[in-house]
């Protein structure tokens, strides 16, 4: 279970998150919606441990473990995965090599045995196939020369291989056409189960037609101003964030 209590965070001395309270029980998928600048991406970076953000108050635990005390790589080993809004290019680093290094680093930290190249490729190819990704995507350099849609699918592939307990998807739908959106959503839905939870951060309701959330939270000006079931997303689509701001 992800438990966020009174979380405040700032960047360059400017407070972005102003006291977030949120609980995501294991096995559930929650959506975070909100207008630009409401703190959605900040929340995802703070959860995954980006150093530029200073946490000024509050606690975050995943299954009782204090995430804020951990380095980003320790959080990954603890089961946190961030699907980046803008996946980063790593020239000269093969996608398969990158992913195997990551998986083995996580397995090592957890005291599990490392996978050799053959075992890994079998696993990665199967995952790629489920995401309708051609095999050669594994051979290419990480995100180099990938289209926007390929980058997002590559994030989901990484998620499928690393099998996190908690996935944070930061505007994974941005820049995707409807087919890519469906593939990405299928990839996320395939992970759903009693041991997986996700925080789906999005600007639009569209993605939530494909990944139907258990709960929807609205983030505005660094606070969660409303929470509800999947119908809240539709309501927002109709009334917009402005209407909500007045109500709040």
């Amino acid at each position: 279970m992800l438990y966020i209590n009174g979380l405040r965070a700032a960047i360059d001395g400017r407070e972005i998150l102003k006291g977030i309270n949120l609980t995501v029980p294991t096995g559930e998928v929650h959506a975070i919606m909100g207008p630009n600048g409401s703190g959605k991406s900040t929340l995802s970076y703070v959860l995954s441990g980006r150093e530029d953000y200073a946490v000024t108050a509050g606690t975050v635990t995943l299954d009782g473990r204090d995430l804020l005390a951990m380095e980003p790589e320790a959080r990954a080993a603890a089961g946190v995965f961030l699907a980046f809004q803008y996946p980063v290019e790593l020239p000269g680093v093969g996608n398969a090599n990158f992913l195997r290094t990551a998986l083995n680093a996580i397995r090592r930290t957890r005291g599990e045995s490392e996978l050799d190249a053959v075992q890994f490729l079998k696993l990665a190819r199967a995952a790629a196939k489920r995401l309708s990704m051609p095999d050669d995507m594994l051979k290419r350099n990480v995100n180099v020369g990938f289209s926007g849609g390929e980058k997002k699918r590559n994030e989901i592939l990484q998620m499928a291989v690393l099998k996190p307990k908690l996935a944070v998807l930061d505007e994974t739908d941005s820049g995707l056409d409807i087919d890519a959106l469906r593939i990405v959503a299928d990839g996320v839905n395939a992970q759903r189960g009693p041991d997986f939870s996700a925080l789906v951060i999005t600007h639009y309701q569209r993605l939530l037609d494909y990944i139907v959330p258990d709960r929807v939270h609205v983030l505005m000006d660094g606070r969660i101003v409303r929470s509800g079931g999947p119908e809240l997303a539709h309501e927002l689509e109709a009334s917009g964030y402005a209407g909500l701001a007045e109500a709040a």
């Binding site: 995954s48 150093e51 980003p72 990954a76 290019e89």
Partner: protein, 496 residues
């Protein structure tokens, strides 16, 4: 393979942090008195039992060195003046080298090389005495140069069956004088430059390779250079001759003890490729780089040049330079034969206060000659890393081609990367291309890797290895593995 990874790790654990090859071997040495004069040169020549012509050649080189007077100043490196009279120009382990078998080598020396991960023994695989290497790697013949002398050369008998000569150059002077006399100084003349002239005057040992016509050398040849003695200069000389249609792959590795004072290493390497011959020359240079404040370390002032004399010949230089306080070196190709090919693949890493000014020269003389330059410079700490290269197309080199790619990677914000390409084309049909990039390891890249579970150091390694991939893949496989590890060790702690 030169360095066995298990042994390498043992050495690393022995030496503690930082430079892992910095131990010193306690062995009785035969040292020439400090100072450089004609007498010193006569002494070296006498110790080696050299013929008169070679002594005369040395003395002529010494005269031109004296006439030059001072070190070249055009490189982007700085150092206190070197006192050439305060060095020993000859240092040899007391037990006499030039041995018939490895059994006669001083056990202390064998242990030194074992500790460095260079086992100086010929695995008796055929006789079934030892098991074949688990990873199926091929045997490599090794010439081990310790300070001023070669202490052992392995697999010589196996090689001689195919007509290959692989021996210390001092021995070649004795046993193959005609070959040495014909080619020595034919690529790098004795008066070529300040350090080459110094080397020609006082060179002590190095490797000699001769591959006769139509022979593909049956194994990789390698030389391992070790500086051990204090206050000595190492001046080795390597000469590789590959006749028509032949091929050799040659590897070179180097280490030295950690010391507070600087030590001079001024080598000369000459390669000659005749018609259709190919030489692949790979270096992993890991001399002691000095400490974090720039105290100590090797001055690596080296002249390396290959002559593609024959038509369709090819010389390929691959270097991974991680060590030395200062590196000044430009492995070059003279593309004389028509359709000959020159290649230069380089990774140069500088950290702390290291300085590197390195690159290549490609001199196109023959028709349709081709050259490729791929240089990857990585700077960290407060180091300075310069690529300096010359592509020169002479009037007769119709259809000559060059492609140059220079990439620099910066780690941190106190280091420098510089690219100084010179292009001179005197033939209108020639094509010369130059591409250059400079990038920084971005916070984004590091965070991306860490969010996937990699530690910061693993992330840096991954990014650096990706950056160097085009060069590393040119190395023989086991050497590439070693080079990757070396990059990792060199950049330890450079981020954050």
């Amino acid at each position: 393979m030169a360095v066995d990874t298990d042994t390498l790790e043992t050495v690393q654990s022995v030496a503690g942090t930082g430079y892992k090859w910095g131990f010193e071997t306690d062995i009785e040495m035969d040292l020439a008195p400090k100072g450089l004069s004609e007498d010193t040169i006569r002494l070296i020549s006498a110790r080696k039992g050299e013929p008169e012509w070679l002594l005369a050649w040395r003395l002529k080189a010494y005269a031109s060195w004296l006439a030059m007077g001072e070190e070249p100043s055009w490189a982007r490196v700085e150092h206190a003046p070197i006192d050439y009279q305060d060095l020993h120009y000859y240092a040899a382990p007391k037990k006499k080298p030039g041995l018939k078998s490895l059994d006669e080598v001083d056990p202390e020396l064998l242990r030194t090389y074992e500790k460095l991960g260079i086992p100086l023994r010929e695995r008796a695989v055929l006789a079934g005495v030892e098991q074949a290497p688990a990873n199926g790697r091929a045997d490599i013949a090794i010439d081990a140069v310790f300070d001023s002398v070669s202490v052992a050369t392995t697999f010589r008998e196996t090689l001689s069956k195919s007509g290959v000569i692989f021996c210390p150059i001092s021995e070649a002077v004795r046993d193959h004088p005609d070959l040495v006399r014909r080619y020595l100084g034919s690529v790098v003349p004795a008066g070529d430059n300040f350090f080459a002239a110094l080397n020609s005057a006082v060179f002590t040992d190095g490797s000699f390779v001769f591959i006769p016509k139509g022979v593909r050398c049956p194994m990789e040849l390698s030389t391992y250079f070790r500086i051990n003695a204090r206050n000595t200069g190492q001046f080795e000389r390597t000469l590789i001759i590959v006749e028509e249609g032949s091929y050799v792959s040659y590897l070179e590795g180097c280490t030295a003890p950690m010391r507070d004072e600087n030590q001079l290493h001024a080598a000369v390497v000459e390669l000659v490729a005749l018609d259709d011959a190919q030489i692949k020359y790979s270096t992993v240079q890991n001399w002691y780089p000095g400490d974090a404040e720039g105290r100590g370390g090797i001055y690596n002032f080296v002249t390396k040049r290959g002559a593609c004399r024959g038509a369709r010949s090819k010389i390929s230089w691959t270097q991974v330079e991680t060590g030395s306080a200062i590196t000044w070196k430009y492995p070059s190709c003279i593309l004389q034969g028509d359709d000959s090919v020159g290649e230069f693949y380089s990774v140069a890493v500088t950290t702390n206060r290291q300085q590197a000014d390195t690159g290549t020269k490609m001199i196109h003389i023959g028709k349709n000659t081709k050259s490729t330059i791929v240089s990857k410079g990585i700077s960290a700490g407060r180091s300075n890393n310069t690529y300096r290269g010359l592509v020169k197309i002479l009037p007769k080199a119709a259809g000559a081609r060059n492609h140059t790619q220079c990439d620099s990677l910066l780690i941190g914000d106190r280091c420098g990367a510089h690219t100084v390409p010179y292009i001179e084309s005197r033939n209108p049909t020639a094509k010369v291309e130059h591409e250059a990039t400079t990038s920084k390891i971005a916070e984004d890249q590091l965070f991306y890797c860490r969010s996937r579970g990699l530690t910061e150091e693993d992330a840096v390694n991954l990014i650096v290895n990706g950056f160097c991939k085009e060069v590393l893949q040119e190395l023989p496989m086991e050497f590439a593995v070693e080079a990757q590890k070396l990059l990792a060790v060199s950049l330890e702690g450079s981020v954050g």
